[in-house]
Amino acid sequence: MILSYYPGCTLKTKAKDLDRYGRKSAEALGITLEEIPDWQCCGGVYPIAKDEIATKLSSVRALAAAKAAGQDLVTLCSACHNVLKQVNNDMKTDEEIAGKANRYLGLSEEYHGETNVIHYLEMLRDKVGFDKIKELVKNPFTGKKIGAYYGCLLLRPGKVLKMDNPENPKIMEDFIRAIGGTPVIYPMRNECCGGYVTLEDKALANKRSGKVLENAKDMGADMLITACPLCLYNLNKNTDGYDVPVYYFTELLAEALGVKD
């Protein structure tokens, strides 16, 4: 199976592991991720305002490229996933935004949200299947208590992203079971880590991330997994004294599949 792939800026630089282990694991699962040529940065955060057009164009270009290739578009970074899905929804449902974007871009064929955008986790669930992954696991995380950290970008707004129940998700817990681990459910798993505020207010980022780690530790997690480079950074830098290592979920997947070098 060949799918279009949008890595995003951070996966080419500070989050190379998220990308590398994601690609290796996909190959092991029989999926070829075809990187979109000349993709541009999504901007990291979805431009909410109705009159923001220029800031949505890089996403539209990527979406249109996947449409031209006739493939679903896979994202791995939580932020890219959030931005691309929300912009895609605008192109599908907001005539004014779609009209302006199309007139500006002048694509050979107008784009109106035809591409199906999926997160890598959705690819594992819906294209491969967690049962199949379970069969292919060589090094299971038996006995490991793993907490899923969803953060804010993977699930919300639930009506647009349609990945999972935004208040009681289970896709990452099902992933943890598939690789042989024991998922730990903790209430802060879908609350914000502090995001980009770490640039101007370290104390605030520390407070936010500390609450997540404290809660995960209290509920018995040995480690956390995330799909977001900024969550990983915040949780690792702002431990607030709580010792819970945080990993990209693709690193655990690659290890479980026996393709981690």
């Binding site: 804010c152 699930l155 980009y196 900024l230 950074y233």
Partner: protein
Amino acid sequence: MQKQDKQELILRISGVNARKCMRCGKCSATCPAYDEMEYHPHQFVYMVESGNIEPLLSSDSIYKCLTCFACVERCPRDVQPAKLIEAVRLAVIREQDKNHMKKGDLPELLDEDLPQQAIVSAFRKYTK
């Protein structure tokens, strides 16, 4: 820009109908930035609705909201307070010399592990 024009602009670009709010306060109750905010999400909703926007424009609260969308997901009336806060922030930073972060500020804020995602996100939220 006249006060009323600004109110209309904020409502228009946010796409929010503030009149749907029934004042239950769930947005503020669930907001992870509550302690840091001078004005809380429910106050943004009724202050914009009533045209009392000057205090919001000059408050640091507009930079405490990180658009995590907890309020949007949990609002029983689908008011989407975070979109309104974003529009108030844009009404400020779209004006001349009102960028909240300058390029020159950046070098000393970086460390070797900081993901690019943090920088591009901050520039989208803080500057125009």
